[in-house]
């Protein structure tokens, strides 16, 4: 546990003292702000069909996720490998799994910090109309759950590539693929079983459910087990490199 905490503390400091982190926060707020402003303009039009503003916001948050996650995770392990500091880390009194979990938790906490200012949007909407805090809570749970899975993918990609850019590109490609492919496959197949299977894997569909206030145990189990599996694979990847 102490190994995880030590790694977590070290990584969090690296995030918060890095200019990249603040640039990321600015980028996220610019993209999210633009989306939010567009939603407000749309719903202010009397010809619009109406809807809950933050439902639209949460449903469209996958666009932001695709760009933010690779930037957050690309340096996690790749940087250590390219600078050679991974050798020092691996000979310290921490296991590979503790290193991976510590680094992953740091990325997850920083990811949550990035989304924190968007609560201001809920406050703005609350000033103009009634607001459903239950739906907002489930919307944020959706962002957290999807982010947790993608950060685990990014952590694994970072352990596979020595180059940070390569790691970022792999993460982006996988996240992009996951967002698009299962939704598309659902509309391509005719079998109900396959449709359900692809819906189960469809993270974008999951986020829609969370955005409208539905919390489904299937989504939570899928996300949690995928994160655990990916972190396990990442730690095994690091262990394997030790013996090459």
């Amino acid at each position: 546990m102490s190994g995880i905490l030590a790694t977590l503390r070290r990584e969090l400091c690296a995030y918060f003292f890095s200019p990249l982190a603040w640039a990321l926060l600015t980028l996220l707020l610019v993209i999210n702000g633009t989306i939010f402003a567009l939603i407000i303009s749309f719903l202010s039009d009397p010809r619009s069909a109406g809807g809950r503003p933050l439902d639209f916001f949460f449903s469209s948050s996958w666009v932001v996720l695709m760009f933010i996650v690779p930037l957050l995770t690309m340096r996690l392990i790749s940087e250590e490998r390219s600078s050679g500091s991974i050798e020092v880390l691996m000979t310290a009194a921490v296991t590979e799994l503790q290193v991976v979990v510590g680094k992953y938790l740091a990325a997850l906490l920083f990811y949550l910090f990035l989304w924190l200012p968007t609560l201001a949007y809920a406050a703005i909407v609350a000033g103009y109309s009634e607001i459903d805090w239950g739906t907002i809570a489930s919307g944020y749970l959706g962002i957290f759950a999807a982010g947790a899975v993608f950060l685990a993918i990014g952590t694994l990609a970072s352990s596979l590539a020595r180059n940070q850019v390569v790691s970022g590109v792999i993460t982006f490609a996988v996240v992009f693929f996951l967002f698009l492919v299962f939704g598309s496959l659902q509309s391509l197949v005719n079998s109900s079983v396959w449709k359900e299977f692809f819906a189960y894997l469809d993270v974008a569909g999951q986020m829609d459910d969370f955005a409208r206030g539905v919390v489904d145990s299937r989504h939570l189990v899928f996300d949690l087990t995928t994160v655990i599996f990916l972190l396990f694979v990442t730690s095994r990847t690091l262990a394997a490199k030790k013996w090459r």
Partner: protein
């Protein structure tokens, strides 16, 4: 210190190779086990799941009634949803039925896109003897022995007011839960309503191919799991298991014993639908007495007239063929009123609710002409007619619904039931239309005619309204922001990234110091 405990760089080559093999094998086996475990856990999560509704209005929470009904299913029910991409009501139906499925493994859900999967759709549509209209949704409940079929109009309540401003109509309520749970109750009970169509008085027939028959009505009701039979009423009592008697366009009159049999049937909570045409000597000899007197006993005045409405006459037709879009307040015509759908009548007579109120019964006029219409009584001078003092001046009522209400219950206003949820009311119900042609094969396809006859029969049978499950009202937030408020919102939104930049600069300069 043994060699295997040394770092790899200090180990001898054979020992290193052995170690690598062991490590690779362990890693491989570990990965395979992890994948198996991942698959196993997710398989069970997929099979047995639970959904939680975090919305404050609990819009995605099923009622206790639905949970009990679905949870107690003992035989498999296949639910087939015919829909296409972008059909909002199809998506809502699927989402709702997914939640039903989570409650019972007996419920099998199947989605079919008739455009993409034509052969499967055609096979199923043929099996269910129905059709699919592109861009809509059709839901079929089938337990092997019987089935219920629902169209888009059965599932939604619409608000058409945005259309006037160029916007799309909005769904104000989704009735899916009441409709679907009602269907499951019916299928589980095995009840199959029996509708008798009287014969022997020149009525319209179920198997008439001339265009004047009721094959369209038969098809409409056939999807709803009902038994339809023709029945000669002369000299007989109404059979015990009769759910509804339909009298469609009789030309001859009914004898007193027949009417007495109807009275006894209605007194026992029976249901009747009368589709009556004008007593024109050229086309019918149906006079007011004794049927008119009998109906008067239920507070219904059958007019000895022919209704004309020049203001609403159809192009190229006489004033006796007109459209009606003025509706009363009643569940039968509520969907038509909401969707502003007209019905087309031809050669109709007036049917009016009488003023004297019999306790325990309510009478509601369902349709009426415009104020420019009237009930022409000088039938011998047709077709040159003018409104005269002796005529029934407009607006003229064309249909009346009568309902007997139990003392402790209120009338059926469409939002609540006159009977306790889950039970049919004990009181009689009857609807009298002053026209039968609107339900005939050559006219049932016009505008809202099919919906009118379908709604009337469903109301008489008390279908879909037995459970007291209210429609779900989606939260449609419309932000009516002024220009100033909009600009303030944009400014606040722009302020957040600026604050992030400032915070970043503060951290950066503090670190440099």
């Amino acid at each position: 210190m043994s060699e295997s405990n040394l770092p790899p760089s200090q180990q001898s080559p054979p020992s290193m190779a052995r170690r690598r093999t062991v490590e690779a094998s362990t890693l491989g086996v570990g990965l395979v086990l992890a994948v198996l475990l991942l698959g196993l856990v997710n398989y069970f999560a997929w099979k047995y799941y639970k959904q939680f509704d975090w919305t404050s209005s609990e819009i995605y929470t099923l009622s206790e009634k639905t949970k009990n009904v679905v949870g107690s299913l003992t035989q498999p029910v296949e639910v087939v949803v015919f829909t296409g991409p972008g059909v909002a009501m199809g998506e809502q139906s699927l989402e709702l039925l997914e939640r039903y499925r989570a409650l019972s493994p007996q419920l099998r859900l199947r989605e079919v896109d008739p455009i993409k999967n034509l052969s499967e759709a055609e096979r199923l549509l043929e099996r269910y003897a129905t059709h699919y209209q592109e861009g809509t949704v059709k839901v079929v409940f089938d337990n092997g022995a019987s089935r219920r079929i629902f169209e888009e109009d059965d599932l939604a309540e619409y608000d058409y007011s945005p259309v006037q401003m160029g916007g799309p109509p909005t769904v104000t309520g989704f009735k899916g839960e009441a409709v679907f749970t009602g269907a499951l109750v019916e299928l589980a009970s095995g009840e199959r309503p029996t509708i008798l169509f009287t014969v022997g008085h020149g009525e319209k027939k179920l198997d008439d191919f001339s265009g004047n028959g009721l094959r369209g009505v038969q098809e409409l009701l056939g999807r709803d799991n009902v038994t339809m039979e023709e029945w000669a009423s002369l000299g007989k009592q109404v059979p015990e298991a009769t759910s509804l008697i339909v009298v469609a366009g009789p030309r001859g009159n009914f004898s007193a014993p027949e009417l007495e049999a109807f009275t006894a049937y209605l007194d026992g909570g029976g249901r009747m639908l009368w589709l009556l045409d004008p007593a024109l000597s050229a086309i019918a000899d149906l006079q007011a007495a004794p049927l008119g007197d009998w109906l008067a006993g239920y507070g219904i005045e059958l007019g000895e007239d022919l209704v004309v409405d020049p203001d609403q006459a159809l192009p190229f037709f006489g004033a006796d063929t007109f459209f009606v879009n003025a509706y009363g307040s009643h569940p039968v015509i509520l969907p038509l009123a909401e969707t502003q759908t007209a019905v087309i009548l031809a050669l109709a007579r007036s049917v009016t609710a009488s003023n004297d109120e019999t306790p325990g019964r309510t009478r509601t006029e369902l349709l009426e002409t415009s104020s420019g219409g009237w009930g022409e009584t000088s039938l011998e001078r047709l077709p040159e007619v003018e409104a005269e003092e002796t005529d029934l001046l407009g607006p003229v009522s064309l249909a009346v619904a009568v309902e007997e209400i139990a003392p402790e219950a209120g009338p059926d206003d469409g939002s609540s039931d006159s009977a306790p949820a889950g039970e049919k009311s004990a009181g009689m119900r009857m609807i009298v239309f002053g026209d039968s042609d609107f339900a005939a094969d050559n006219q049932i396809g016009n505008q809202g005619n099919a919906a009118l006859i379908d709604n009337a029969i469903n109301w008489l049978l008390e279908r879909d309204t037995l459970l007291g499950i209210p429609p779900k009202k989606p939260e449609q937030v419309r932000l009516s922001l002024t220009r100033q408020q909009l600009w303030r919102t944009y400014l606040l939104t722009a302020l957040l990234p600026l604050l992030a930049i400032v915070a970043g600069m503060v951290v950066y300069f503090k670190r440099r110091r």
